[in-house]
Symmetry: C2
Subunit: 282 residues, 2 copies
């Protein structure tokens, strides 16, 4: 009888995956790390029983968290990634003509394990001369560092364990101080189906330090709840509406698998039931 | 220890729901019918272990299958629904100023059970004087009936058991003969994540009898695969692009929870990985 991995969503709801093969299991200082192989989704990175990324659908989450804010900025030069140990976000960010992309990941073992078992997610991103990997606590880095950035991306796990502080007002205030004029921060903010409180918390805390807050959506089949939210805060005016022509021009040749100009625009069109649940004017 | 319901997607992937309470379990001539209560999704209708609809997210599927083709037609008068025993599609269709909506469901027990345990899904649709419920085999009805329709909606289960014929060229040819000039047919066509063959089959079979085929998407959290496809065939030209102003005007006051003008438009914007898997030009 084969083992099944269960990834819980709400209290009575989970996704479950047959484990064809366990390629890795280990415990870092921060979490249990597993890599399994599944018939439907290929190799899957699992942290503390929560699926983080899979060969089959990793590009959806990574494209939407990287490119939406990078496209919302007219000409980003310097990007900072907090978390994102699998390297997928770094790879997507480096598709833009950045000068530098700094990635701060707390758990070196996640980087090492994904480079070994899921190398195609990062591709050659870590070898890019513009990339710099720092193994450190992102919260402390944000508090102590002084480098400026145009776009900050926060690719965190759920708000438990080491990630809790990444959803706090203090963290967003520190991030705000790192942003150049016109800069943006974008974070994964959970599922509007069962983490409405989390999304409201992110919007409230971010809204205390940044004038313009937008929540946008994508469908991530392997995250329970599957309708997934990202929340973006901008130092300036509404950054959510570059024209479809601009998006088309700036994504031409990037070989994106999910994001198109129409997907970019549609991501901000919250269905009424979600806008109402979150108290966002439609 | 509580029971969990497992709804399989691909070979190694399922959604699972804790059964807080089983409100009904019975076997009709066609299938096993269950109604359970779940903490996340409320009451759920389950046919042969496949979740059909839930209180929490039923409107997504029903709105997208009903309103997209009804809005793609400039002025539908007569609608036919094949399947849809829970009445959700009928309720949505009757929000339009139709003269008549005929619903042909093979399994009376599904209608009776959902009216008893999930009455808010149909609302008062079955009491609407424009509605007519026929308990019959939809395939045979389509072959033998002679009434004309502007829009035909097929709300089927997966293509196994009695539903197999609903995906055949013969069925679509019979439907074509029932359509008035300018008429459309729309069907649920499965998940582009693990039922690509089904979507291709529907597009091929429908394309043999109708000149314009469009596939559009919605996210249905309780259908495994969760990115869900609908395929529409039109007797005339491209019916997929009514203006956002038209959609806004014709949906004003309908109290829709998922579909907006931007969602309508975005639904046809297939992400590149799906368009490529299906062999549809982007």
């Amino acid at each position: 009888m084969s083992e099944w991995l269960t990834d819980a969503g709400g209290p009575g709801f989970a996704h479950t995956y047959r484990v064809e093969e366990e390629l890795y299991r280990g415990r870092s200082d921060f979490q249990e790390i597993r890599v399994i192989r599944n018939a439907d989704f290929g190799r899957m990175l699992v942290l503390d029983d929560a699926v983080q990324t899979t060969q089959r659908d990793e590009f959806i989450y990574h494209e939407m968290l990287a490119h939406v804010p990078l496209l919302a900025h007219p000409a980003p030069q310097r990007a900072l990634i907090i978390g994102g140990g699998d390297g997928g976000l770094l790879e997507e960010a480096l598709k833009h003509p950045l000068e530098a992309a700094v990635m701060v990941e707390i758990d070196r073992q996640v980087v090492d394990v994904t480079l070994r078992f899921l190398p195609e997610i990062a591709g050659s991103a870590f070898d890019d001369p513009r990339a710099r990997l720092i193994i450190a606590d992102g919260i402390r880095f944000m508090r102590e560092a002084s480098d400026p950035f145009d776009v900050i991306l926060v690719d965190s796990t759920d708000p438990k364990g080491p990630a809790v502080g990444l959803f706090s007002e203090a963290f967003y205030a520190d991030a705000r101080r790192r942003l150049r004029p016109g800069g943006l921060i974008a974070v994964q903010s959970g599922s509007p189906l069962y983490q409405q409180d989390l999304i409201r918390l992110v919007r409230t805390n971010m809204g205390k330090v940044l004038p313009h807050i937008s929540t946008y959506l994508a469908t991530v089949p392997t995250y329970p709840g599957v309708i997934w939210s990202f929340t973006m805060g901008a130092t300036g005016g509404d950054p959510t509406r570059p024209s479809e022509e601009d998006v088309a021009r700036r994504t031409a040749g990037l070989d994106l698998q999910y994001l198109t100009p129409a997907v970019f625009r549609g991501a901000f069109a919250l269905p009424p039931f979600i806008a109402r649940d979150l108290g966002i004017a439609g």
